[in-house]
Amino acid sequence: MSELHSPLSERDLELLSAYLDGELAGPDKGALEARLAREESLRVALHDLRANRQLLRSLPLLRAPRSFALDPAVYGRRVAWWRRALAFENAFQLAGALGAAASLVLVVVGLLLVGTGQDREAALLAPPASPMLEIALQPTSETPATETPAASPSPQALRTATYPSPAATPVGTATPPASLPPAIEFEAAAEYAAPDMDEGAAMLGMEAPAGAAAPPSAPEADAFMPGIMAAAPESAAGEAAEESQLRDGAQEPLPSPAQQKLEVEPTPTGGPTQTSEATDNALPASATEAESLSAASQAEERAAPSGDDQTGTALTLVGLAALLASVVLYLTGRRRARRL
């Protein structure tokens, strides 16, 4: 009797309990069955455990003392849409859909920014396409010196370059016809100054792209875009022009716009009529100013598009990554909802 009541070890008790529930398998089961065949105390313990389990299982199912049904007046209202939307699996789908929409907006904005930057660069690089500009820029046959503004002016002519005041108009520059709108005049001036841009950029230590056109030269900018010049008085253009001025050492008073109007009379063919001498002397001077100021303008113009490009590219990449993550999130939520 005392042998039968000998306390079981915890290990034996666990083995017997698992064996009773059919949860013992493999070598443990075989070893326990071998021991059960040999040891009566184990058999008694197994019998006790089985009897106790039977006792517990014989306990009746209790009847609930009352109904636990929920009161529809308290709990019967419909679940708010936002609570259902924020349910676990729905929240995944909602977040995924919202994230995808936001990502698409990011991508579109990024692409627009990249496109804007490319348009600006293209506008800088491309020659003017408007036939009106061609007409406006067409020098008259009487001014052969102005036909080749791309030709490098002689050093002597360069020395005549002056830094004009914002209100001054250089003598001898190809003034567009008065009938052209200011914007066209501005572009025409830009075309005139283009060939000299590379030298101006080189003066500023900038790298000039091949065939790059320049923004309007300084005189034209002064004459037609006083607002722009006034907006950047301390810009590199001023420094470049001052360098040019120090090199040349001489200044010539420039005629006022009124004087220039007297000198340049528009012809019926649209081109300005100028004297050859005025063109010979003044064009190189204005070209030198143009190259310095156009380089500065070019630097400013290039700075802005590159920033837009970088921002746009970054936005596009971030948007694409967020789009991918949102799709994964949405699909995860959808799979979880289907599992329900």
Partner: protein, 197 residues
């Protein structure tokens, strides 16, 4: 209406559909709560809390067996009730008067005489007393395994414990129950008498 349809309707906020589920499972839920808590009022409170929680958390139901999911909520409600009792132990007048527990004795009273009925009630009270003497975790696993007949993996899912933990706690609970029930052997029917008697 099928159980899945009731669940879907209840998830949409249909409390009447949920009450159909309550009627299906309230006896089982109350029984588990009573076996764990050992007191009908506490068991009723825990059962009610469990059904309210189940209705509110129904959107978290992932499609596993609804009864097992409900039993997990009932078990958690019982743990909450046990913690509450430890913080503020209460003794009701019913306890002082040793009133009859909600043991469902009427379900078995068709063919037994009063003496047999009294003996059966006393036996059930003794078993419940032995269950009450177990530590909480062992009592929970003993109720789920030996009273409700859940498999180990189901108990692991309900309690959130690993299967190995379930196994070891169950074996310890059975060892304690064996010692406790030996003390009340005179109440046991002949077929349940332990072999050494």
């Amino acid at each position: 209406m099928q159980e899945n349809q009731l669940i879907q309707a209840a998830r949409r906020g249909d409390v009447h559909a949920f009450n159909e589920l309550v009627l299906c499972y309230q006896d089982t839920a109350f029984t588990v709560a009573y076996r764990i808590l050992g007191h009908p009022d506490s068991a009723a409170d825990a059962t009610q809390e469990a059904f309210i929680a189940a209705f509110q958390k129904l959107h978290q139901f992932r499609g596993e067996h609804f009864k097992s999911w409900l039993m997990r909520i009932v078990t958690n409600a019982c743990y909450d009730e046990l913690r509450r009792q430890r913080r503020r132990p209460i003794t009701s007048l019913d306890d002082l008067q040793e009133t009859q527990p909600a043991d469902g004795s009427s379900l078995h009273s068709h063919q037994e005489n009063p003496e047999q009925h009294a003996q059966r009630v006393e036996l059930q009270a003794a078993i419940q007393h032995c269950l009450d003497a177990l530590p909480d975790d062992q009592r929970v696993v003993a109720v789920l395994s030996d009273v409700e007949e859940y498999a180990y993996h189901e108990i692991a899912a309900i309690t959130g414990w690993p299967v190995g933990t379930v196994k070891s706690r169950l074996s310890r609970a059975r060892g304690r129950l064996r010692d406790c029930l030996r003390a009340v052997r005179e109440l046991l029917p002949a077929e349940y008498r332990l072999k050494d008697e």
